[in-house]
């Protein structure tokens, strides 16, 4: 048996699916944040798989609030630490459901009040814990149990909400997107966020093998494809200005879609070129907005 140091501050024995992107995100986040960190977690997949009572995988102080109020609880923890003159860093974590939909009220309040904490959203693009219902983060045309693809539907009808921009509009000093497919980049962003005074936000793309429909061993490959197709953009914003963007030689979005069961209806029984073109247009817009294309010399 290994000594416990091997697994860092997020211990083995949690009940995440094999190949879970969110479990990777939790480990990488704690690797970067270190032991002087207090975690406030909303309800969600990560909360459920890491802390089935009476067990916990966390080796730092960890508080579970409700689905909607982790930012409010974190605000209180920050205020209390400040009063006591303590220096611990506070990180609030939530899935995309807790962040984009249920908790946006408390999140907006905490950012507007300007508490010194970091909010990390692990974005697996649906309510995975309760059985893959669509959320505000679910991408266009993804089939979920509440946006099922069928003869009358191509899946989720609405595009993904642009939450990083909403939080940047609150005047947040640091907003970033990251992906578990690029661990050193994610860790660097966590370090930067917790050391930046004021409310900071990181949205980390965490592919979900169960909800998206791919084999657990492909979690990182799928995360990379999202970036390489332009459907996910890794960038940093400081004081509302985009300062760093990951550039790529773009691949067609089909390469990403065809690997996942949630987009299978776009290829079977026959390929739906019209819908795929709409998703390609989203990627093209992202590429133009952030300037991610690497121009190859001919």
């Amino acid at each position: 048996m290994n000594d416990e140091a091997a697994c860092g501050l997020f211990d083995s024995g949690h009940r995440a699916c094999g190949g879970c992107g969110a479990a990777m995100a939790a480990r990488l986040m704690l690797d970067a944040a270190g032991k002087d960190t207090i975690i406030v977690s909303s309800t969600g997949c990560m909360e459920v798989f890491s802390t089935p009572y009476p067990e916990t995988a966390w080796k730092v102080p960890w508080i579970h609030s409700l689905f909607e109020n982790n930012s409010a609880v974190a605000s209180g923890v920050v205020a209390s630490l400040a009063k006591q003159g303590r220096k611990e860093k506070v990180i609030a974590i939530g899935g995309d459901g807790a962040t984009f939909d249920i908790g946006i009220l408390c999140l907006s309040g905490a950012f507007e009040r300007g508490h010194d904490f970091t909010y990390i959203c692990y974005d697996n693009e649906a309510y995975m814990n309760t059985g893959i219902q669509r959320s505000g983060a679910t991408p266009y045309d993804a089939s979920t149990t509440t946006s099922p693809a069928g003869s009358c539907s191509f899946g989720n009808k609405r595009p993904k909400k642009d939450l990083p921009m909403i939080l940047a509009a609150h005047g947040a000093p640091y907003v970033a997107t990251a992906s578990i497919a690029y661990p050193p980049d994610f860790k660097k962003k966590v370090e930067k966020a917790i050391n930046t005074p004021g409310p900071c936000y990181i949205q980390v793309h965490a592919p979900c093998c169960t909800g998206w429909g791919f084999e657990g061993e492909k979690t990182i490959a799928i995360g990379k494809l999202a970036i390489e197709t332009g459907l996910w953009v890794n960038y940093e914003m400081e004081n509302g200005v985009v300062t760093r963007v990951k550039k790529v030689v773009r691949k067609p979005v089909e390469d990403y879609l065809i690997e996942q069961k949630r987009f299978r209806h776009l290829f079977k029984p026959k390929k739906n070129d019209a819908e795929i073109a709409k998703i390609q247009a989203t990627a093209d817009r992202n590429a133009e907005k952030f300037g991610i294309d690497i121009k190859l010399k001919k």
């Binding site: 211990d11 949690h14 995988a57």
Partner: protein, 86 residues
Amino acid sequence: MALGTGCTARPGNSRNNKTGSWRVFRPAFINERCTSCGMCRIVCPEGCIGENEEGLPVPDYDYCKGCGLCAEECPSEAIEMKKEEK
């Protein structure tokens, strides 16, 4: 007033739960091909890959769920997934 029971747990006691029993495929580490780059340790969602004095990876099969991420991401193809014999 102190809160009653049902609210706290000892840090990291999820180790009581040996998730190795979930495994269908077992990663076999081929040390001759390993360059000690550490990729398998970074990507393991369980955090159950340690290293020995020579820097070679040592998996903890008590917790390995056999997801195969380490084998997929290993740049030296030094990890092979083999059907578990129980």
